[in-house]
Each structure stands twice: as C-alpha cells, then as structure tokens.
C-alpha cells in the first residue's frame, strides 16, 4: 500500500487547500489546473466529483457540478484523469463528493480505485460520523482517509469526531453551505482548541474563505485553509483559459497577500 500523502501537506507548514470541480469546464483543463495549483503553492488539492444535488454547496459550486455533468463527466473518467495526473505529481489529492455517486459505483470498487489511482482521501459532506461505518471498512482497507467534518453546531460531538478523525479535519467556518462570505464570526479557535486536545490530526478551515486576510486570521489557530467557491468562480468566468488566473489568485492567497 502506498503511504498516504495527506500528512505531507501539513508538515512544518500551514496548508493551503484549493478545491476545483473535476470536469469543469473539461477533464483536460482539470489536469492542467491541478498542476498549475501545485506550482502556485497549493499543498493539497480537493477534486470535486460532480453530483446533481449538492445540498452542502452554495450556488457557485452547484453550477460547477451541473456544468461538469452536462459535459458527461463520470467517476470512471475522473479516475482516468487522476491516474494521468499522478504520473506528473505527488501532491496529496482528495475527492469531494456526495454519498450517492459513491454508493452507486460500489464502495469496494470506489476505494480500491482511489488507492490504485492515487487518491489519498475522500470528503463526503452527507455522511456524518454515525453513518461512516458503512464506508470505513473499504476506505481503511485501501489506505484512503475519510475526512470528518466539524461544524459550529458540533458542540458535544467535537471530541468524539476529532478522536476518530484521519487525514485532516474539515472545520466548517460558519453555518450554511459553501460560498464566499465577507465575515466569519464563529468561534473557530474554541472548536479547534477542543479538537486538538484529543487528536493530532490537523484541522483545516473551509466555507467562505476568499481573502488573504481571512487566511492569515485562520492560520493563527488552524493548520490550513480551504478555498473553493472563489476559485470555481474564476473558472466559471474564464473556462479553459482560467489556468493563469487561478494560479495568480492562489499565489496571492498562499503568500497571504
């Protein structure tokens, strides 16, 4: 079994984690974007597998999902892309998707294929801690981490979730769904502080982050920052020509301004 790469993203540094929706605008661009994101300073990349009804996502990422689906993107084709990308880079890669496409593909096949192609982790917003057992059997056997979430409403669940978390913990900065926000008011430091008392698994914060100032603020107490909608928006605007634009944006975020 290949050693899981996720820990490399957090080694001796704060991780910058961009998200892109695989197949938006097409899979050739996805490959180009991954390499450009790494070049621009990304430490781990989240690749979205599109789903028709992404209930944890805001309108920007919903639209990206639908664009990818309209282009005929499937899990099978995304695995082909990942396989190809892996011949060029060893950057940690995790999927972000919803449970139904994975369930339909078959849990066993899916996680085997993740391991074979070089996917290090899977983020599935609609599988909370209580339901994870049905996939952990297959993910663990294949050395793929299932990333757990903490939310502003997690309260008494923080310790239980953090203790069992693998790879990294996705801390939702605020209530609601993904998407750009101007202000983040949740008491993130307290949530992460409680998690860190029971686990060494790094905590990365996502939902609504889009400025270098926010990244700076978050890195005071978190191990990484996740940025999705802001990047997807650039891809929405420039399509196949987005490479240099997202690279420029990620550089500015990575250098905190």
């Amino acid at each position: 079994m290949m050693e899981n790469r996720i820990k490399n993203a957090f080694e001796g540094q704060k991780a910058f984690i961009p998200f892109i929706s695989a197949g938006d605008p097409d899979l050739e661009s996805t490959e180009e974007f991954v390499l450009a994101l790494e070049e621009a300073g990304a430490d781990l990349i989240e690749l979205g597998i599109p789903f028709s009804d992404p209930i944890a996502d805001g309108t920007v990422i919903q639209r990206a999902n639908l664009r990818a689906l309209a282009n005929g993107v499937t899990i099978e084709k995304i695995f082909e892309t990942v396989k190809h990308v892996r011949t060029k880079t060893q950057i940690p890669l995790v999927f972000l998707t919803y449970l139904n496409p994975v369930f339909k593909y078959g849990y066993e096949n899916f996680f085997e294929k993740c391991a074979q192609t070089g996917i290090d982790g899977v983020i599935i917003p609609d599988i909370p801690f209580e339901e994870q057992a049905e996939i952990l059997e297959y993910s663990e056997k294949n050395g793929v981490h299932v990333i757990s979430f903490l939310a502003p409403t997690s309260n008494d669940r923080i310790e239980k979730i953090a203790k069992n978390a693998k790879g990294f913990i996705y801390v939702a900065s605020s209530m609601g769904v993904t998407g750009v926000r101007s202000e983040i008011t949740t008491n993130l430091a307290e949530i992460i502080g409680r998690a860190k008392k029971v686990t060494k698994t790094p905590c990365a914060v996502g939902f609504g982050i889009n400025t270098p100032e926010q990244v700076k603020e978050i890195e005071k107490f978190a191990d990484g920052a996740i940025v999705g909608s802001a990047i997807v928006k650039i891809i929405e605007e420039y399509g196949k020509e987005a490479t240099e634009h997202i690279a420029k944006y990620v550089k500015s975020m990575k250098n905190r301004g």
Partner: protein, 394 residues
C-alpha cells in the same frame, strides 16, 4: 448502523452542521409525545381547528358503477386547508413552539404542505418561509398567493429542475444556515431520521380513525387500503394501523406520468433503484452513476424522485404493493369521481382513485376497500382544464 432504520432503509445521511439539530429534535419529540399538555393541545387543534375526525364516506354511486367491492373514501380532503397535510403540520409546528423555535421553514410541491404549514404558523404565531420550485410556483400560482395571504414568505427555487426535489435541497441548505431559532417542518415521511417517524406518527391518525370507522360501519376490516405515494405521507398514514392486519392489502399508487417506459415519470418504486439522498437510504429515480433523475408527473405533489424509507421497507418485505398510475389515468379518475360522487379529488389522490377503478371488480360485493382521498382538487381545476384543451387560467 445508525438510528432510524426500517430494515436497511432510512438513516441520517446529512451534513454535520445539522446532526445536533436532528438529535435534539428526536429527543424533544420523544419527550413531548408523552407530554399530557402537548397532546391535549394537539388533540384540541385537530378536532376544533382541522375538523377531525374526517369522514369515512361510502361511495355508493362508484360502488354500483364499478360492480365490485364496497368503496369507502377517507375524506382527508375535508380537513381544514383541504388535505391530510394539516395533520402533520399542526403536530410539527406545535412541537417547534414547545422546542422554543420562533421560525419554521418548509418545502412544498403542489403547495398543499406549504399552505398547511403557513396556516399552522399563522395560527400558532411563528414566522414562516416556504421553498417551492419555480416551475411549481407557476403550476400552482394560486397556492403561492394563498401562502402569502397567510403571512408566509415564499421562495421560488431556481436551482436544478426547479421542482419539489430542489425545494427540499434549498430548505435543507437554509436549515443548515440557521438552526438556532428555526425548525424544518418536513412535509412527508422522508428525509433523515427522525422525520420519517415523526411525520408517520402524526399522519397515522388517518388509519387510526379509518380502522375504527370501518369496523363500526362494516363490522369487518377492509380487503384493501389504497393511497397515492409521492414521498408517501398520506399513504403511510392510511396504512399504518392496518400493517398488523395481515389480511388487509396495502396498495400505494405512484406517479407514472407519461408511462413508466418513457423517461417522464416519478415512479421511484417501479423504476427506481436503491440510493442515498435527502438524508435517507431508499429507492430513487436516478441514472447508473447515481445522479438524481429529473422526474415528471402532472401532479406536483407526486413529482419527487424518491420515496420514504418505511415504504421502501414495506415494499421489500412485501407487506405493501406499489403500482404505477399514468397522468391520463389520473385525469380520467379526477373527472370520474367528480361526476360520480360530486367530489373533486386532488390530482394526487386521483392516482389512488384510478387504481381502485382498475381493481374494484376483483373483489366480492361483500368486501370493502378504503381509498385515502388525501386532498381536494380545487387547486388542480385550471390545470386539468388545460390538460383537456380548455384555456382556463387562474
């Protein structure tokens, strides 16, 4: 395995943000369902406000015309707001109030659940926002105005297919954004646990009454209970207290739209496959990659790509049977019941009437069967007229 299972179906497949909310909802529901004051208040509302018990009406003309079983209609259409939806919303909105919530949100398809929710919110003094697919706001424009008249804010949902599924997506997103003062009042026996249980409990009054009524009228149990199934709330309500009466056939009529061999249907039992969506494991209309299919039915209330997990379990355990009914059959039944009995059924309920017309003759003249007439059809009149080529607009 997690809580809230019916066999392999059900569960709590929702984002972490909502987990403590559904856990708290379950705890407080369990507490208040045993609470004397809560039950007395709910009982009062059901009787003195909603008009329960609803009639079990002997459809004499229909019985004579079809020449089979004696047909009874459980008249949920006579409830305040015109459908069974009020049973559930009075329970859930009262629960929201006991939980200290000041705002409720809900999805709606045809607008029946939205109108019922807005009604209960107006009565009990809670703020109310309704999510409705943009396409449905156009199909059911009068219900949009009705909800606004009742003081609710209606959001026309423009994402995805702009129908009920997308209204649920949007309501879930909204709930994840604001839980502190807000309860999501789900309209059907679907979504994550504890909703399928709570909604079923509140709707089970249909079969509790119907069972006692039929025993009093006929001194025997019905041979069959027939109800339409979208998410499945009126059907589970009509079935529930008959589940242990093994000799009673339970039949759900789902929307076959233009036919189950076309792509234009919402028949998740006949054509759907096992999947996980909207918080539950159940049967869904979806493609081989697990993308949720756009569904179609003339009936906005049945135009949903999934079905409640308890129905999926009743199907798999063979305790209930589920049959497809097309738009054409439902419209014929809509007209049939109007002419035969002077009762205009909701186009949803007309699916159950249509199947009854097909099977009534299979029964003996001494047998009786019950149709759950889940709602009244006033809301559908203009759309059915257009279906028949008459250009009537609301």
């Amino acid at each position: 395995m997690s809580k809230g299972r019916f066999g392999i179906f059900g569960g709590q497949y929702i984002p972490e943000t909502l987990m403590n909310e559904v856990i708290q909802l379950e705890e407080l529901y369990e507490k208040y369902k045993k609470d004397e004051k809560f039950n007395a208040e709910l009982d009062f509302l059901l009787k003195k406000y909603a008009g329960r018990p609803s009639l079990l009406y002997f459809a004499k003309n229909m019985t004579e015309d079809l020449g089979g079983a004696r047909i009874y209609l459980k008249r949920e259409d006579l409830n305040h707001t015109g459908s069974h939806k009020i049973n559930n919303v009075l329970g859930q909105v009262l629960l929201a109030k006991y939980m200290g919530k000041t705002r409720i949100i809900a999805e709606t398809g045809a607008g029946q659940h939205g109108v019922a929710t807005a009604t209960a919110a107006a009565l009990l003094g809670l703020e109310c926002e309704i999510f409705m697919g943009k396409e449905d706001t156009e199909r059911q424009a009068l219900n949009v105005y009705r909800m606004e008249l009742l003081g609710a804010k209606v959001h026309a949902v423009t994402s995805g297919t702009m129908t009920l599924k997308d209204a649920v997506n949007e309501a879930m997103r909204e709930w994840a954004t604001r839980t502190e003062d807000t309860l999501y009042v789900l309209g059907s026996v679907m979504g994550p646990h504890p909703f399928p249980m709570i909604v079923r409990d509140f709707q089970s009054i249909i079969s509790k009454e119907a069972r006692a009524q039929i025993l009093e009228l006929e001194s025997k149990l019905p041979k069959a209970v027939i109800a339409c199934v979208g998410g499945g709330s009126n059907a589970i309500g009509a079935f529930y207290n008959f589940i242990n009466d093994k000799e009673v056939r339970l039949i759900g009529a789902e929307a076959a739209g233009k036919g189950v061999d076309t792509e234009l249907h919402a028949a998740s039992m006949t054509k759907g496959t096992l999947g996980i969506f909207h918080g539950m494991k159940s049967y869904f209309c979806q493609d081989e990659c697990g993308q949720i299919a756009p569904v179609y039915s003339i009936s906005a209330g049945l135009d949903y790509p999934g079905v409640g997990p308890e129905h999926a379990f009743l199907k798999d355990s063979k305790r209930a049977e589920y049959v497809p009914v097309t738009d054409d059959e439902a419209v014929d039944a809509f007209e049939y019941l109007s002419r035969k009995e002077g009762i205009i059924p909701a186009i949803e309920s007309a699916h159950a009437v249509a199947h009854t017309i097909k099977i009534a003759k299979e029964f003996d003249k001494n047998d009786n069967i019950i149709i759950c007439l889940s709602g009244r059809g006033d809301k559908d009149v203009a759309a059915i007229a257009r279906y028949r080529g008459r250009k009537i607009f609301e």
